[in-house]
Symmetry: C4
Subunit: 367 residues, 4 copies
């Protein structure tokens, strides 16, 4: 255990024996301090959208197939030409030092070890360079919470380019903080600095609440910003927080090279639809012009399958992986992704789908 | 604490630290006497409609928007040319002396302090003049429970005009008392006189049950009454208790200058639809001829947003504000409205809506 | 208390103070012996249909109306020219001696005292003549469980005609006993003779289970039986147990002068629809050729209203009235019907319906 | 009690007094060891599909019929010319030695005693010959988990032919093991050898988990296998695990003489539809070319009725029969089937259906 500003960080580093992802939450709650756990696990307001995110996967069903003449389904895929062992990726969650003393470094290491895609948050506990190094050359994306201060934005983008990021995720659904009641109940303030803020903010976020952190971010984000970031970095820009076909097309028109369908895991606008419920219409509008990343509510291999079959190219999640990080460090991260991918493979075999491309073409059932 | 006829009224006057509006109910229950709390919180029969009123907001969802190029959403709006800081208004709930010794005076003061619209019930604990004075010039509406006795009606309307009311709300959904079981269980009789009844009824309602109070009211209310009141007062008449497009048109035809969509917070006809479920069709029928006020079940900023997006111009509520009154007097009232408006502002920002007019044009999602 | 064959019958005779009908069940359970209570309250199998019968009323809603210019709604109606004070009638439930020592005599007396319609079961605890006498000239119907033995059938019909019955209800949905698990758990056998069986069956059913009783009844009931009974009695025959438009038309073709929509209160075929859910289509098919009686699941005034608005002419119920019988004898019966009718009147006023004919024309809302 | 490798097997042999099938589970849990009970009762992942399998029967309702002029419904039917007393059959569940020392022998004996159809799993605890002998000449089907080793397959098929099997069920929905969490929690390994594996696998499965057992089975099953088995055995091949009209037609094209609609009782692909929800469309596609067997979730006579009315010719179940086996041996098995058939007969009488063919033509109601 590492203690930083009175906050107790896990130091564990071990492979996990995982029954299923939902069962990790209780175990993680036992070792992550209350404030940190509330920040990680909570959603906004009464968490209707957070809960609906997972429930919504029951709105459609996978059809078991017969006489399929196949075996050994293969989960390999790619993004922007980068080969990946699995369509499951790490979502760009902030402040992973809340769960483990090695923070995003351990996450990146674990993600890389299973051939998955890493993405890193602006508000990460470790720096872009350190996280990239821990990932050992495996592909990573950098997520930008656009600041009002373009010097800050450019500095981060410079670092990301230098670190070899394969793309920039521009988050657009957090121009103010969602109303997260668990943070208020816990009077939660970040006990650990955010490495990327060090040069631009005294304390680097340490001792601040998420509302104050977001206050420094830009509320106004426009299509022009997509273009600006793309030109500045010469990297593909993925617009995150898309929940409607209209906004997907707007983003593509603005130069987005990827669409990231997400409602921020139910942490921002409560009373919005389950992310899964809007995925299909968005994917139809995107019509394969650019890849579609999906997150929010994913806990099961069948969720990954259904998201792919409904139009996603990659499927991201964060909370369960962060719980794995707390419980087992980089190996815990790898255990979580491996377990989820194993569930996915069972589903692929039983649904008669050899490859990820076959999953994407699978018809779903709606009662 | 003030004790009147053995009933203990709160005297509190302080700003409240509010997590959310639903959490106020339990706190208020601890300080409002049983009979009063049952009268305020209860609905009719098994409260199916009361509960459905709030559940129904989940039937549609707000779509988070991306790349909206906006910040600092503005909740200002107006009614009949009166400027308001927020579309959230106080519904004309009766007998607020049950919650606080200052009754409607404190409510009016708190409502005015945040630039919202006040409305006062015929059955208020304080007089029209006193309530108006406490509101300090801020706009107020007067709600009429039409009596069989037109001398009484005219006297009240005279007082309202004199006090500067900006309009008259004519309640039409309470021609008999809904079957409110909590009042029967508590054998509830008003312990506190109703100021406006003083001249016309011995005891002014004190010691009577709501069924007896309503018995003095008119069961027969016709379109001609709308015209009569409008001509007598020269004020806009808002017909309250509309739950169908047909009745909205009937009321407008009769001269109504506002339509108030409400099922009396589930206190009248149980087994009727959630008020929110009928709003959209009514607003379509009204077609902007006159403003639409909506109430019943509102507890969250997202509810306000959804009501506006479904056709409301103003959104009213009473119970949570009365709980705020009990817990903090006029400052408690202000705290409740401010909190709800803050939730609304977060929703507006995340839904990409700069102004109330933009909210009204926002498309909602229905799964 | 009267003890008969070890079974304790209530002797109570008093007016009841009723909050609502559902609350009567618990009170009645305290004074009716276990076996009898199980027989009265239970349904078949896992009681899905029994529960759905009441839940289904929530599938449609009553629309509150505004500016209706009416007061003092009137619940008078009629059947076959017989004037009734209320559309609420007593369903032909068996063996009311299980609830009260005066059995159907007290029920008939209570029903008559409030101007409602009585119907009496073949398997009643008191004889046709005694029940008729107790009803003091008020209209009654006689319900026939058709026996394999036509001497028995004719004898009962003769008695019914002689007693002045206004019609014969022919039950067709009980050609075998539904699988009622509470009777099996309680090993329930009728402790009290069935008066009408006295001449034809030793013990008159006493000491037998419902399955044995039904075994003596006819399994084969055909359209010809409707004609036979009608010709034999010269009385209108009402076919009970209709759950489809097809069977309603078949029955009318066979000479039925009334259609009784019922699923036997969820006591027969479990896994069938809620009776309310099939009412509207049946009433459309009947198209006012003959009156429609409805039962199954009615507990609230709003249920009566919705059934009338969906095509019923009369609305029957039994369990809550039998609970009233146990708790207060004939006055208890009257209290229950009066309470339910009072709830109905509130609904009529708030829905702007002056008379039962107006209720029948009221449009319902379906979300 | 027989103890084998430390596992306690029931030896009971007695007729059971059955209230209903769902109530058997708790009783069986008390006498079957934890690991065995978990294997028998459990489903995959969070058991959504397992639960939905039974819930889905509530999606449609049986219509009670009136004036049907019938009695004594008859449940006789047939498969491939083999006469059966009931459309209820034993599903080919594995390893019944977990429930009873006599395993499938007792099951076959009990099934035969009530004139029902037996089917036996490849992974049965008793050999094909022994099970057939116990069935005493009554019709049986043999279910094949196709091995990668065709010597093994052919040897089993030879035995089945020799034992007089009336058909071969080829299971196609278990090419990998579903993710069954109860087996993992219990670290369950088969304590009892699987008789049919004796010649080909040391230990015959004893001490292995279901995942290892399945690993020896073929993942690749193709239409050509249907043809191969049919030609090798000259018996009708029934393809089991069909959940879509497309696969039903594919199987028939490949030579299947029967379609077995099943999702393996929710033990394989979790997140798939309730088996009942896909039955109707499949039966429409099959269009009476070959018989349709249905299983998954059946617990009530009304479930059997609904499955038949939605297109099934025979309705299989396993868990409740295995509980009957544990509680009463062959007589327990007979008691379960008899009870379920008795419930079916009540439903047939009340729905006006004389014969199984009439049930198949019954219209169902969907709210």
């Amino acid at each position: 255990m590492t203690v930083i500003n009175g906050y107790e960080q896990s130091d564990r580093e071990e492979k996990l024996d995982i029954l299923n992802l939902p069962s990790l939450e209780k175990k993680a709650k036992d070792i992550i301090p209350t404030g940190g756990f509330g920040y990680i696990s909570g959603g906004s307001e009464d968490e209707w959208t957070l809960q609906e995110n997972t429930t919504a996967f029951n709105h459609v069903q996978i059809i078991p197939r017969s006489l399929t003449d196949m075996e050994n389904p293969n989960t390999e895929t790619s993004l922007f030409g980068n080969k990946l062992s699995t369509p499951i990726m790490m979502a760009p969650a902030a402040a992973q030092g809340l769960a483990h003393s090695q923070g995003e470094k351990a996450t990146a290491k674990g993600v890389a070890s299973v051939g998955a895609l890493m993405s890193q948050s602006t508000y990460s506990s470790t720096s872009i360079a350190d996280t990239a190094a821990a990932g050992n050359g495996a592909p990573q994306l950098f997520q930008l919470y656009m600041s009002k201060d373009w010097d800050f934005n450019n500095a981060l983008l410079d670092e990301a380019v230098k670190a070899g990021a394969k793309g920039i995720i521009l988050t657009t659904d957090a121009t103010v903080d969602g109303y997260r009641e668990s943070d208020i109940i816990n009077n939660f303030q970040f006990p650990i600095p955010m490495a990327n803020l060090a040069k631009f903010s005294e304390g680097a976020g340490q001792g601040k609440g998420i509302m104050e952190i977001y206050a420094a971010a830009a509320q106004k984000i426009s299509p022009a910003d997509v273009k600006r970031i793309a030109e500045y970095t010469n990297l593909p820009v993925i617009v995150k927080g898309i929940q409607s076909p209209e906004d997907a097309l707007l983003a593509i028109g603005a130069g987005a090279k990827g669409i990231y369908v997400s409602n921020h895991g139910g942490r921002q606008l409560n009373g919005g639809p389950a992310s899964f419920d809007v995925l299909h219409e968005i994917a139809k509008a995107v019509d394969h012009r650019v890849p579609v990343i999906f997150d929010s509510g994913v806990r099961r291999g069948s969720h990954v399958f259904k998201a792919l079959a409904n139009g996603a190219d990659l499927v991201a999640l964060a909370r369960p992986i962060i719980y794995g990080l707390a419980l087992g460090g980089s190996q815990g991260v790898a255990s979580v992704i491996t377990h989820l991918n194993d569930e996915l493979k069972i589903d692929m075999q039983l649904a008669g789908t050899q490859a990820i491309e076959d999953v994407k073409k699978a018809k779903l059932f709606r009662k």
